[in-house]
């Protein structure tokens, strides 16, 4: 079951949109339609968003992404194709049915916040609930909770104009959260904010999404934002979806020239995660084994350290060559662990750019764990440095010119 499903969506603006769709199906291009005074905003878009997923639609202005998101909640009627919300088609719902879907299932966050300036922050957060007809006490309670969630507890009595841009957008977010829908549409929601504040909002969204497990359809023109937020990303160009995939898939295996040119100057360290560059840790020991066993493995493989894992492949600690040798000499039975802080452990989803800090503090390689805290691999410092530089085939002339400029 998918939360949102779009099947062969078309949106053509102009006098005879249906004929435009027919011509597009027959192979006409966007420019062909333009000549007849029609604008093909969205062409044959098909995608599915799973429940609890952040799905990002990324495209430049004019790529049709804003039109696309407005078709999902019926703000713009489709020319052709179908939208399914929880497997129920939107078409044929009628005005009242559509309103019901918007009240119960799909809320929205806007680029310029779209708050009511004459209402307080609290009343804005409660807007959707007022529309649903909740009584005042329930409205205030739920809106208060939503404001608390976005870190605006206590601001309910202020007017939006008294808040900074970032805070206003958090009100917009609280309004959508308070609505209690499981799907949230976010239309360039952070694009009007300063870069620093935008970063904070992205973190907050990820955090909230993990806690509340909302399905999020996020529109942006900022590739770095797309890569940071998106579980999966749809790359849109001239009304068509060029590629759908995870950030890593799009970076490492671009489906078209357009996409590869687009991602060429992405900061890879923000996108690639610890999990994607980790190497298998072949030098592991069960924690019940003693120094002699450690010495044997060290002698066979010649590393300077060993990772020790316990039950359920949980990292227990690290032993160094010198310590093992001393323990054997002294005839000790237990492993001479190094102190815990000398074994940096990171989650597999940590972006690479956050790893350098750990790596600088420790001599030992980074230990990468999965959601359950099991060892997934290790990242020696050399591997980390290699990962930060683009893969060889992407070093085209363009890049070199860029480097000189």
């Amino acid at each position: 079951m998918s939360a949102i499903k779009a099947a062969h969506l078309y949106k053509v603006f102009g006098k005879r949109p249906e004929s435009g769709v027919r011509r597009l199906r027959d192979g006409a291009t966007r420019a062909d339609l333009q000549q007849q005074g029609m604008t093909a905003a969205v062409i044959d878009a098909t995608f599915e968003v799973d429940p609890g997923e952040i799905f990002v639609v990324m495209g430049l202005s004019g790529s049709g992404k804003s039109t696309l998101i407005r078709m999902v909640n019926g703000l713009l009627p489709l020319t052709d194709g179908e939208i399914y919300i929880h497997d129920k088609p939107l078409s044929g719902l009628g005005k009242a049915g559509l309103r019901q879907v918007r009240r119960d299932n799909v809320s929205m966050v806007f680029q310029h916040f779209a708050l009511l300036p004459h209402r307080t922050v609290g009343e804005n957060a409660a807007y959707a609930l007022k529309i649903k007809g909740l009584n005042r006490a329930d409205r205030e309670k739920k809106a208060g909770e939503a404001l608390e969630m976005v870190g605006l507890g206590g601001w309910g009595g202020y007017k939006p104009s008294e808040l900074s841009g970032g805070m206003q957008q958090r009100v917009g977010l609280a309004r959508a959260l308070a609505a209690g829908t499981d799907i949230m549409l976010m239309d360039e929601a952070f694009s009007a904010l300063d870069p620093l504040i935008r970063r904070g909002m992205q973190d907050q969204l990820i955090e909230l999404q993990q806690k509340l497990e909302k399905t999020v359809l996020f529109i942006t023109h900022d590739l770095n934002e797309a890569m940071r937020l998106g579980d999966r990303i749809a790359m849109m160009r001239d009304g068509r979806i060029e590629q759908i995939g995870t950030a890593e898939e799009i970076l490492n295996d671009p489906a078209s020239n357009y996409v590869s040119r687009f991602v060429a100057d992405v900061d890879r360290t923000r996108v690639l995660t610890a999990g994607s560059i980790a190497e298998p840790p072949y030098e592991v020991l069960g924690s019940e084994q003693g120094p002699l066993m450690a010495q044997k493995i060290l002698r066979e493989h010649q590393p300077s350290w060993l990772l020790v894992v316990g039950r359920g492949r949980k990292p227990v600690g690290m032993v160094w060559e010198d310590d093992v040798a001393r323990a054997v000499r002294e005839g000790r039975k237990d492993l001479p662990f190094s102190k815990v802080h000398e074994m940096p452990v990171v989650h597999r989803d940590t972006p690479i750019n956050e790893l350098f800090e750990h790596s600088a503090k420790h001599l030992a390689p980074l230990v990468v764990t999965d959601d359950d805290g099991r060892v997934e691999g290790v990242i020696p410092r050399v591997t980390l440095l290699t990962a930060a530089t683009p893969v060889v085939e992407q070093e085209t002339d363009e890049d070199l010119e860029g480097a000189h400029a």
Partner: protein
Amino acid sequence: MIDFPPRIPVGSWVAEIIDWINTNLGFVLDFIKDTGTSINDAVTSLLLAPPPLLMIALFAALAWLVRSWQLAVGVIVSFLLIMSMGQWTQSMQTLALVLIATLTAVVISVPLGIWAARSSTVSAVVKPVLDLMQTMPAMVYLIPAITFFSIGAVPGLFSTIIFAMPPAVRLTELGIRGVDRETVEAGHSFGATDWMILRGTQLPLAIPTIMAGINQVIMLALSMAVIAGMVGSDGLGKEVVGALATINIARGAEAGLSIVFLAIFLDRFTAALGTPDKFRSSLLGRWKSAREKKARDNQEGVATAA
């Protein structure tokens, strides 16, 4: 010999239409005339019932309530001058005419403006009609007005309403169309009905523009006072017309000044009604600020408790 262009009797057609209305819809016209007259009489006697000094105090209080104490002082001084010039009764008669005309014009034009904002067809039809209403010399309206209602307050009201209405329609449409598109979209996206969006988003956000329109209506209605005086509406207009007929400079100046004082008061007063946030030092503004501060403190109290 062929005349070109031939004489098209537009004027006679209009006259015939007016005649037809007069003979066939006489009962409607009578009803309008009777209602108009009694409303006008009622409002006028209401304004004249209290002693003038009490009324001046009341106007000053209203001025302070929505704008500033400065306007209140201005009102006291200028209205006392009206009293001492012996124009008080006429001024209240004119005020009654302006109030009734404005109210009627607003009741008709705001809904019409909303309709025009929602439908481009309506807008396209309404626009040239408004142009006609505004550019046709106001005295032309007086002719059918007199045939419909003979002389008195009602023909004055009738032509004043027609002449003064257009800006309210235009500015209402402009105000509603000017509401931020995304904010209206937000209403739709949370499942609000058209009515909810109109009430909760479009009208409140269009209020400053609509009030600017109403302000214009009032000013135009005042400017019609003299013309209304020509058809026998009581008030300052009648004074001016009388002064003109007898070349009485003194009388004309006093009546004219009174119109000016009335106009300044009404203009400043209604402008403040439209943009209350600009006048935070008014009594109403202070009361609002205090209430908002209290709401804020309450909310912060809740947050600290939690």
